[in-house]
């Protein structure tokens, strides 16, 4: 109804958006690597026999997964300093996303661990490997192959969560988009371009994950 699209303003600030996208990717990369480590430790605790480890791990997963990530972001950024932990914007967002993704990845990894046949662990024991050697040489490599398909979609949705860093003024993609909105008010155009950037990035991520999957596929 009378609204004509005009992308000129968006193209003028396009490098701002690209810079934001780059930061989004960096945030996601660092946070997800830490998150994966947290998730792995939690997953072993979740499938392990000892209730001393399992209970706290379950509590962690339940609480974190049921909270909106926005609340967690505000907590690390505003409440932790009052408790004496002072991190800058980027560090506190990365920490939050790592903690958040740890809970999601723990569930993904747990399912993967359960799908490694017990007999393989026993075969490892039988040739004299220690439990830790079995984890690193047998269980984790097989678990990773098992979880790749679901890992892909989890990673993508966690990547999209970097958009919430805008709330504490981390200049990632969404923040830059909103900044341009305030300047130009070409809201529709800006969001169209921004979402195209997100969709394209997610498609690339998915394609990469599929390539990894093919790469790691076992010969038949």
């Amino acid at each position: 109804m009378g609204y004509t699209l005009n992308f000129a303003a968006v193209w003028r600030s396009f490098d701002l958006l690209l810079g934001g996208l780059l930061l989004s990717l960096q945030l996601a990369a660092v946070a997800l690597v830490i998150g994966a480590a947290i998730g792995l430790v939690l997953a072993f605790a979740l499938v392990g026999g000892s209730a001393v480890l399992r209970r706290p791990a379950q509590l962690y997963v339940t609480v974190i997964r049921n909270l909106p990530i926005l609340v967690l972001i505000l907590f690390t950024y505003f409440a932790l300093p009052q408790l004496g932990v002072r991190l800058d914007k980027i560090a506190s967002f990365v920490l939050t996303l790592a903690v958040y993704s740890g809970a999601y990845l723990a569930e993904v990894f747990r399912a993967g661990l359960l799908s490694v046949p017990r007999g393989l662990k026993e075969a490892g024991l039988a040739i004299g490997l220690t439990p830790m050697q079995i984890r690193t040489s047998i269980v984790i490599p097989l678990m990773v192959r098992n979880v790749l398909p679901s890992l892909s979609s989890t990673l993508i949705s966690l990547f999209k969560d970097t958009s919430l860093a805008a709330a504490i003024a981390v200049p990632e993609l969404t923040f830059e988009a909103r900044k341009i909105n305030v300047e130009t008010f070409r809201v529709i155009e800006v969001w169209m371009v921004t979402s195209a950037l997100y969709v394209a990035t997610c498609a690339v991520l998915a394609a990469l994950m599929r390539a990894v999957e093919r790469r790691l596929a076992l010969p038949k």
Partner: protein, 256 residues
């Protein structure tokens, strides 16, 4: 008489309240080949798994070369040994499973090398050479770089045996290594075991193949409801069983 290779004294094992091994005693000398037979659920697998510490056990002792497996006894109290020590003891025995349990993400050679590199701390080249040697011995020299998914069941089982033997164990444990195989593949695996027996490898093998037990074993143990029901020379036992249970068992088996 030399020190026995394996001594089992009053071995007891229970799952929850159910006692599965009710005091098993057994002594085995270096170079012996013992076949364990018995009906389903009699505790054969469990016994093998206790020797390898894949199962905890609640009573009795297992000694290999006089060395107590799995538990220390200090002032009458049993304490499980540390993980490292148990891992070392497990490497004294080699085990082949019904379900092969090859590591699917490693080639045949890598499967054999893993223990050599990680447990025996061998260099990769040395380990590779040894692995290829053993794969050759089980007739799979040409398949060293195949993955388990690319091998038939019989080939997989032979790789699994090579993997266990390569660790140079004092004693090999075989748990029904042919029962997951198609009939035409059974022969090739039994052939490998026969050759090992001929070379003087000490072996404990659980099997349902009575004819094989008869041919290859120097002694047969008949397990019955968690204890050893009868034991002796196969030539004797299969022809003149002493207990009624064994008579019955042999009747239902394919041997006769």
């Amino acid at each position: 008489m030399t020190k026995p290779l394996l001594e089992i004294q009053g071995l007891r094992k229970q799952y929850g309240a159910v006692e599965v091994l009710k005091g098993v005693d057994c002594t085995m000398r270096q170079g012996e080949v013992i076949a364990i037979i018995g009906s389903s659920g009699s505790g054969k697998t469990t016994m093998l798994r206790c020797i390898n510490m894949l199962e905890e056990f609640q009573g009795g002792r297992i000694l290999i070369d006089g060395d107590a497996i799995g538990y220390d006894e200090i002032a009458g109290a049993r304490r499980r040994k540390g993980e490292k020590e148990i891992a070392r003891q497990r490497a004294l025995t080699g085990m082949a499973f019904q379900q092969f349990n090859l590591f699917p993400h490693m080639s045949a050679a890598q499967n054999v090398m893993l223990g050599l590199v990680k447990v025996k701390k061998m260099g990769r080249d040395e380990a590779r050479a040894l692995a290829e040697g053993w794969l050759d011995r089980v007739g799979l020299a040409a398949r060293a770089d195949h993955y388990p998914g690319q091998l038939s069941g019989g080939q997989q089982q032979r790789v699994a045996i090579a993997r266990a033997i390569a660790m140079n164990p004092r004693l090999m444990l075989f748990d029904e290594v042919t029962s997951a195989l198609d009939p035409e593949l059974v022969g090739e695996v039994l052939q490998v075991i026969k050759a090992l027996a001929a070379e003087g490898m000490s072996m404990l093998l659980v099997t349902h193949e009575m004819r094989f037990a008869y041919e290859v074993a120097s002694r047969v143990i008949f397990m019955n409801k968690g204890v050893i029901g009868e034991e002796g020379d196969p030539k004797e036992m299969f022809v003149r069983p002493q207990t009624e249970r064994l008579v019955e068992f042999l009747k239902s088996s394919s041997f006769q």
